[in-house]
Symmetry: C2
Subunit: 302 residues, 2 copies
């Protein structure tokens, strides 16, 4: 005698409803002896009679009645679970835990969530905003299913898919609007304002300046693009921001926006996930949604 089995519960539930071994067996699509044996084993297993047998009609014992109620509850839960699973056939389901870096989140996350809710009504979305390294860590330790970051990230266990490029534009104080576009090398001398350590965008901007900036002591740091923009407006220096941040961040600030000379600086935004994730097909679908969000309204601007 091992453990309670689903079969026993199903058979007993049918018996409790029909009060008749033959009809219960019919409902379960087995023969009467098969059901009888299972019920008997169930009673032996739990050590208490559940059924009063008699020739014409059977009854449940008082204990059997209580047992039947609980059994029914359990079977209902199991049925719900099966439905929950089947309604999800091959689809993404349950939770979708995804990360997004802070230099993208403010501009795309809300649209993305809106779109995702429309495409996957049952999905439990769990967004998380953090710097790239944190996201990669979370991804590899399975606290996230996917993340939106700047590529490449070059982790052997991580798959990366490029979605779109975004240009960096130069922000200068409004007073400098008519000055010529500086070369990348000159930016540090103009007091290039950067995000604080740890933001990938900082590194991307730095590398654009050929790394010279690291030897420059005039640059300052801010913890968000909004802060940087305000500092530029105050005449403290210049900065680079992703083009998609322009509308939101420069709306009321006294700054001038300029494209750098070719080759224009840019970064690649992409989605990453564990290579071992078996739902690659669904993740590609989601990546397409994000690509659509990231590129809409952009045509003609860059």
């Amino acid at each position: 005698m091992t453990n309670l089995s689903m079969k026993q519960l199903r058979y007993f539930d049918a018996l409790a409803r029909h009060r008749h071994f033959g009809r219960a067996a019919e409902e379960c699509a087995v023969t009467q002896p098969a059901l009888s044996v299972q019920i008997k084993e169930l009673e032996e297993l739990i050590g208490t009679p559940l059924v009063e047998r008699s020739a014409r009609q059977i009854h449940l014992t008082g204990f059997g009645l209580s047992f039947a109620e609980r059994t029914r509850d359990i079977l209902r839960s199991v049925h719900d679970l099966e439905e929950f699973a089947r309604s999800n056939n091959g689809q993404l389901g349950g939770q979708f835990r995804f990360g997004i870096i802070p230099t993208v989140a403010p501009y795309l996350l809300s649209s993305f969530i809106t779109e995702m809710m429309a495409c996957y009504p049952g999905l439990d979305l769990r967004p998380r905003e953090a710097k790239t390294q944190i996201l990669i860590q979370d991804l590899m330790e399975s606290r996230l299913d996917a993340a939106i970051v700047a590529l490449p990230i070059s982790e052997p266990t991580i798959r990366e898919l490029a979605l779109f490029d975004e240009e960096f534009v130069l922000l200068r104080p409004a007073s400098e609007v008519d000055k010529p576009i500086p070369s990348p090398d000159l930016l540090p001398e103009m007091r290039l304002l950067l995000l604080e350590e740890g933001h990938c965008f900082r590194d991307q901007a730095l590398s654009y300046c050929s790394g010279k900036a690291s030897s420059t002591r005039t640059l300052m740091e801010g913890s968000s693009l909004t802060t940087l923009v305000q500092m530029v407006a105050a005449g403290i220096g210049v900065t680079l921001i992703p083009e998609m941040a322009v509308d939101l961040e420069t709306g009321s600030a006294k700054v001038s926006v300029s494209h750098m000379a070719d080759p224009r600086p840019s970064r690649t935004i992409g989605m990453i996930w564990r290579k071992s994730n078996p739902l690659e097909e669904q993740l590609l679908e989601i990546a397409e949604i994000f690509r659509k969000i990231g590129t809409s309204g952009k045509t003609g601007m860059s």
Copy 2:
């Protein structure tokens, strides 16, 4: 592929906790391939991957996480059910639905319930007060597990167990206290007051009067012993009541209580249940409890 099995849920739950096929298998006391196969079949059954396999570590998919939560809930319910059953090994459990006739209930039911609650703390007591015929009907149709009635009831499917006899005593107006004890035959002429049709006690009293009373038009009926006692006190007639009702019913009434001449009238109170009830042993225990209640404080009175 048939239906979700308990085994699959147990294996998956272990896997979700250990995140390791080998250790999950160990916990389930099976080999790793056995568990792997079951998990794979579970995934096929529900049509969605639950687990991300990789060489060093495995993870659950977002859907797998949700599935694991529900699985755990179900297994907890099942475990509770098993505990509920085992805590009850061969004991009476769940509901105990019992009936009791109105001419016994007021005097013994409260003590009986108190005692039952002490002896069977987990038992869900469902008492029901009704006339004998109703109780027998309910018993045979399995709406009751047992009943306290006056014997015999002589139903072939019903087992009956005598518990104790109770004497009927004569109640006359207080003014008649010194008159001699009448013979049974004379009671109708003294205006014998009876319970209304359907009470077994009415029939028992009538049969004591040798059935002559049925041809007598002077008797009156009341719907409760209390009513009869009040009518006797008002001088309307005489009545017979069970001895155990004396204390409660005659406390403040102006009536005289007399024992009839030998052979004193009496009835047998007993417990009845379906012969098919498999818990006879437990029912006998309960019957003993009722016998104790019914005979306590009675010694020396009859």
